[in-house]
């Protein structure tokens, strides 16, 4: 009440302004943020209840979900969005409801901070200019002609002086142009999958069966079969945050069907909040130690007659390497897993007591868990890739698989062992519907290329491991295999494909140093994200809502999407392909090769080749009926075809979802045939079986040149893991960096995308999670500003004190757009990549979840994230 007078005064002031016809646009208001256009409140009220034109649009980010969205468009303006209303919603056939980010998509697409014009930094000059000013220079608006000329001149100059070997580009349409131009240095990484990338395949869990191709998306059962489980173990799985959309809802049906849920996670996650019956708060990076403790318990307590805990039949028939009697050909019998568990060779049994000291779960609890997993008939052992985004985790996938093998929870209904992750979270199996090939032909890169899949043999082309990019720029060298370093001199970085490389790579502090070195940096961007901030030339590109769409099948196995163009390109933004062709033309290249199939042709190809599973589950049939008229409308030459639904219907609805019911024919039970007859249905591993002893894996890892592992899943301490938090392990004396840190997928962002959206900033402030016990000894209160420092960098954030995180462990969402204080060398936005070091191990795995740091109270107040000014450039020029 005491505010009444001041408020009333405000009221009169505002009322007066309104009366005078002045639009009041508060800086943080949606009216300011919604659109670069003005819409009167009256209009908005009106259209709210009027059905305008709902255009099906896509949500296109790397979020782990994929959902249906529609945008309400009136006069080239987006007024609101809605999600799936194309069919009735049931648990068996659920609508593909968008998460909060998809729901806020218009705030991103039409944000006030959308880049409007091509621009270059003021002090740029041919050859670089004052490069130390990158990141803090002013921006100058330039024309497309000028921008393209600058890029083309720099490309020509660098090529002439240093060769194509000095041009770096990690992806995007522009890569086609650069490949035609003679090629460029490439990059590879296993960022998402961590050590599952190579290990999953080598050991047999991701091994493709000939003629029935599936990789990681098929390594667990589908959501219907999961309802047959009695127990679901969620090892580092938190779909509520990392796979939004339908997956958590699907898990809820599994729970309703009667399954018990056990979570193994340093954080009592939001998925655990609704699903968990029990929780094992393991320390990050020690999962492998814990699982060895579980397996030792099984071995120790198993008695085939009185207390059968181990499925010996499965081990003997379907695996190699468990004991000395079942070794693969040519292997040393003493190098078997059983003897390792028992400590025959090193004198250290990997028993629950040994594991407890490392992983933080008391031995008695480890034993209880072991018995429960073994004594329950139908179990899903699910893990995400998170525990494998740990340095030295190359054997973890194999250890996880081995538990599945010992307990036999593989290859039968309701029994599965594998990764529940990304689009295959809680729903594994080959796609039930998929798009046709777009017909865009690949253009070979003469200079760079090659991923970790082709590694293991000498790499002839230049391809920098993602986690060595910054050091490669600074030192001119990177690791290209065992005993093999390669020289590289990066002069020009072309960051197409809307990558935010500077924000999304660990060792970010080094990144800020390295980014000042090359002669020229150009990027494509929607916003001034961290990477755009530090570039010389920034080219504004359209979002997917400003382009005609193609069929999109990168969601869960049951859906396919077709988005349409909702609005005309904002300001002067252009499609990535347009830029690729313009630059190509200026370089004198054949642009017909760059866009080897027109957008229309690609649409037709992806539509006519789209297939859907037949009702009997045996084979596929064409998805779409395409008429002469459709073909004419698309604007291509083609022949009509018959399919399940009409092209027109897909265009209008934007989504097709294969209806499902519990007794349909689309079940997926991986390795079922294999389990029944492993001789007749061998895997693609060397032995044809699941390999608990896998020489191929050990050789594969060694070939990368960073570290070596054994053919059996032995535990290797992470570089900056729990053990390294002590200066003396025996006396348990803590080191200078005593707390563990790991970063998580956070609902504010998908990767680093969406970080600028004010609604999401408000809903999910970037907070630093810490346990009350750790906070208390440091005098930190809930909401205090803290400074977190690792060996690699420092961030400032507010502390979120919560019992949900285990003592000794801290965490933050990944992907915040840095606000670097160059003088103090700290990041006020809390990018987790400032804390994670660029440490590479094994098959090129990064250590995002194996970090160490110290936290202290920090004197200054932080402005809440959603009140930080948006990065708006050239404000005054309103688009009409």
């Amino acid at each position: 009440m005491k505010n009444a007078t001041t408020s009333r005064r405000n009221f009169f002031k505002t009322a007066g302004m309104l009366a005078a016809g002045i639009t009041v646009l508060p800086s943080n208001s949606i009216k300011g943020a919604l659109l670069p256009y003005k819409i009167s409140p009256v209009v908005k009220r009106h259209v709210r209840s009027v059905e305008g034109k709902w255009v099906p649009v896509v949500c296109w980010h790397d979020c782990g979900g994929r959902c249906a969205l529609k945008a309400l468009v009136v006069n080239n303006k987006i007024l609101r969005v809605k999600s799936d209303d194309t069919h009735m919603d049931t648990p068996d056939y659920p609508q593909q409801r968008a998460c909060l980010r998809g729901r806020s998509q218009r705030m991103q697409v039409c944000g006030p901070d959308r880049l409007k014009y091509p621009m270059r930094r003021k002090s740029w000059a041919p050859g670089g200019g004052d490069k130390s000013l990158r990141g803090k220079d002013e921006w100058v608006r330039i024309s497309w002609d000028e921008a393209l000329d600058i890029v083309v001149n720099e490309l020509k100059r660098i090529k002439e002086e240093y060769g194509n070997e000095s041009i770096f580009s990690p992806g995007g349409e522009i890569k086609r142009t650069l490949n035609l131009f003679g090629g460029c240095v490439d990059s590879w990484s296993n960022d998402s999958l961590g050590s599952w990338m190579g290990s999953g395949k080598q050991i047999g869990l991701y091994a493709k069966k000939p003629n029935n191709g599936f990789d990681w998306v098929g390594c667990i059962g589908d959501r219907m079969d999961m309802r047959n489980c009695q127990l679901v173990v969620m090892w580092g799985v938190n779909p509520a945050w990392s796979s939004p959309g339908s997956p958590t809802y699907n898990f809820l049906q599994v729970k309703k069907a009667g399954a018990k849920f056990i979570f193994i996670d340093p954080f009592y996650s939001s998925s655990a909040a609704i699903l968990a019956d029990d929780w094992y708060p393991v320390r990050p990076g020690t999962d492998h130690a814990m699982i060895l403790g579980i397996m030792h318990t099984l071995l120790n307590e198993d008695n085939p007659v009185n207390n059968p805990l181990i499925d010996w039949d499965f081990l003997n028939r379907c695996t190699v390497g468990f004991d000395k009697y079942h070794m693969p050909e040519g292997a040393d019998p003493s190098e078997n897993f059983k003897d390792y568990l028992l400590g025959k060779n090193d004198g250290q049994p990997k028993d629950a007591e040994w594991a407890a000291e490392i992983c933080g779960i008391p031995a008695a609890r480890i034993k209880i868990l072991a018995r429960e997993i073994a004594n329950t008939k139908k179990v899903a052992l699910l893990t995400s890739w998170a525990p494998a985004r740990v340095n030295n985790s190359d054997s973890w996938p194999q250890a996880f698989m081995t538990l599945g093998c010992m307990t036999g929870h593989i290859g039968e209904s309701g029994r599965m062992t594998g990764t529940s992750i990304h689009i295959a979270t809680g729903n594994g199996g080959p796609p039930l519907v998929y798009a046709g090939n777009t017909g865009l032909e690949e253009i070979p890169n003469q200079v760079g290329g090659g991923s970790n899949y082709t590694r293991g043999r000498p790499e002839e082309k230049l391809s920098i491991p993602g986690n060595q990019i910054w050091s490669a720029i600074l030192t001119g060298e990177y690791t290209a295999g065992k005993d093999r370093n390669r020289k590289v001199d990066i002069r020009l970085m072309y960051l197409g494909g809307v990558t935010n490389m500077l924000g999304s790579r660990e060792g970010q502090k080094k990144g800020f140093e390295a980014i000042k070195k090359p002669d020229f940096i150009v990027c494509h961007a929607h916003f001034l994200n961290t990477t755009a901030q530090y570039s010389d030339v920034v080219l504004p590109v359209t979002t997917q809502w400003e382009r005609d769409g193609l069929l999109q099948d990168d969601g869960n196995r049951e859906v396919i999407f077709l988005g349409s163009k909702a609005i005309e390109p904002l300001f002067e933004s252009r499609d990535d392909m347009w830029i690729a062709k313009e630059i190509g033309a200026r370089l004198g290249l054949d642009t017909r090769l760059i866009e080897s199939a027109t957008q229309a042709q690609q649409l037709y190809n992806s539509a006519s080749g789209a297939m859907v599973i037949k009702d009997d589950g045996k084979g596929y049939e064409p998805l779409l009926t395409i008429t002469e008229e459709d073909i004419k409308n698309i604007g291509v030459v083609g022949s009509p075809q018959k399919g399940r639904i009409t092209f027109k219907e897909l265009r209008e609805k934007g989504v097709y979802q294969v209806p499902r019911s519990p007794n349909d024919n689309f079940r997926h039970i991986p390795l079922e045939d294999f389990r029944k007859d492993p001789v007749k249905n061998p895997l693609t591993t060397r032995s044809g079986k699941l390999e608990i002893h896998c020489s191929d894996l050990a050789e594969f890892v060694a070939a990368f040149g960073w570290s070596v592992i054994k053919p059996i899943p032995e535990y290797v301490q992470p570089i900056e893991g729990y053990e390294a938090s002590f200066s003396d392990w025996k006396t348990k004396t803590k080191s200078k960096y005593p707390l563990q840190f790991y970063s998580v997928h956070y609902l504010r962002r998908a990767g680093s995308t969406y970080d600028n959206v004010s609604w999401l900033r408000e809903a999910w402030p970037q907070e630093f999670f810490i346990n009350p016990l750790d906070a208390e000894v440091r005098g930190i209160n809930h909401g205090d500003t803290i400074k977190a420092t690792s060996r690699h960098g420092t961030v400032i954030r507010r502390a979120h004190i919560t019992s949900r995180i285990r003592p000794g462990v801290t965490s933050m969402g990944a992907g915040a757009w840095s606000e670097l204080d160059e003088k103090l060398g700290v990041d006020n936005a809390g990018s987790s990549n400032m804390l994670a070091g660029d440490i590479t191990t094994g098959q090129g795995t990064s250590g995002w979840n194996s970090c160490l740091l110290e936290v202290e109270k920090y004197g200054k107040e932080l402005i809440p994230d959603h009140k930080w000014p948006a990065r708006i450039l050239f404000k005054n020029e309103i688009h009409e």
Binding site: M1, S83, T248, L252, I274, E357, P362, H866
Partner: protein, 225 residues
């Protein structure tokens, strides 16, 4: 007093993951700026850690979420408090703020124990949830209800909701239902009675001006331990 037509919300707290899709859907539908949240999600958390043989073990750690908007109370104190009679209760029990009559003195905000009325510094008006009156008028569900990826939210006539879901209208940290007779039925989260026992705390970080953090205002913050 029992209005047969009274509409209300239903929340299955046991299914809510606190994702805030409902908040964003509400903001999108109603064009709400930051700082104005007709729907809020409260994170309620508790439990502690014990030391056991050199290891820490959790003791009753839990978290659950409550997504709340205006409760369209049967005895709305906001209505009583408004000095300019801007607030009224319709035949369907929906509590409205008449934007023309509102003199934004914020009496309703202080009266409402749910922090439902939100002050828009841009519009200089109080505003709050009207259960998407416009969408209901064309036979659609409120935006938040259709948005929930967990299908934790629903709405309908209170009599029917009660029949289907019981009559629990408050769990920690919400105010006792007897104060305003809120029109929301809850299925309590499984940890509500087992563990929370009034000993948890709201963990959303309050700002200096508490009304500004996710729209959770002084009345709920008050209940912070």
């Amino acid at each position: 007093m029992n209005n047969k037509n009274q509409l209300g919300f239903y929340l299955d707290s046991g299914a809510c993951i606190g994702c805030k899709a409902c908040i964003i859907a509400c903001k999108d539908k109603n064009d709400l700026p930051v700082n104005i949240n007709w729907r809020r999600v409260i994170e309620y958390c508790g439990g502690s850690w014990n030391s056991e043989k050199g290891n820490f073990v959790p003791s009753g750690v839990y978290v659950y979420y409550l997504s709340v908007s205006c409760q369209h109370c049967e005895s709305p104190p906001c209505l009583e408090a408004c000095p300019s009679s801007a607030i009224s209760k319709g035949d369907d029990g929906i509590v409205h703020i008449d934007q023309e009559k509102c003199i934004h003195d914020q009496s309703c905000l202080y009266a409402c124990p749910y922090d439902a009325p939100q002050f828009g510094s841009d519009t200089a008006r109080m505003s709050k949830c009207d259960m998407c009156a416009d969408l209901r008028a064309i036979d659609k569900n409120p935006a938040c209800v259709d948005a929930c990826p967990l299908r934790a939210l629903s709405w309908g006539k209170m009599d029917e909701l009660r029949e289907k879901y019981g009559n629990i209208t408050a769990i920690d940290p919400l105010p006792d239902g007897s104060i305003t007779s809120p029109s929301m039925i809850l299925t309590p989260h499984r940890h509500t009675r087992l563990l929370s026992n009034g000993k948890g705390h709201v963990t959303d970080l309050p700002e200096k001006a508490p009304t500004e953090i996710n729209g959770i205002g002084p009345n709920i913050i008050k209940q912070l331990k």
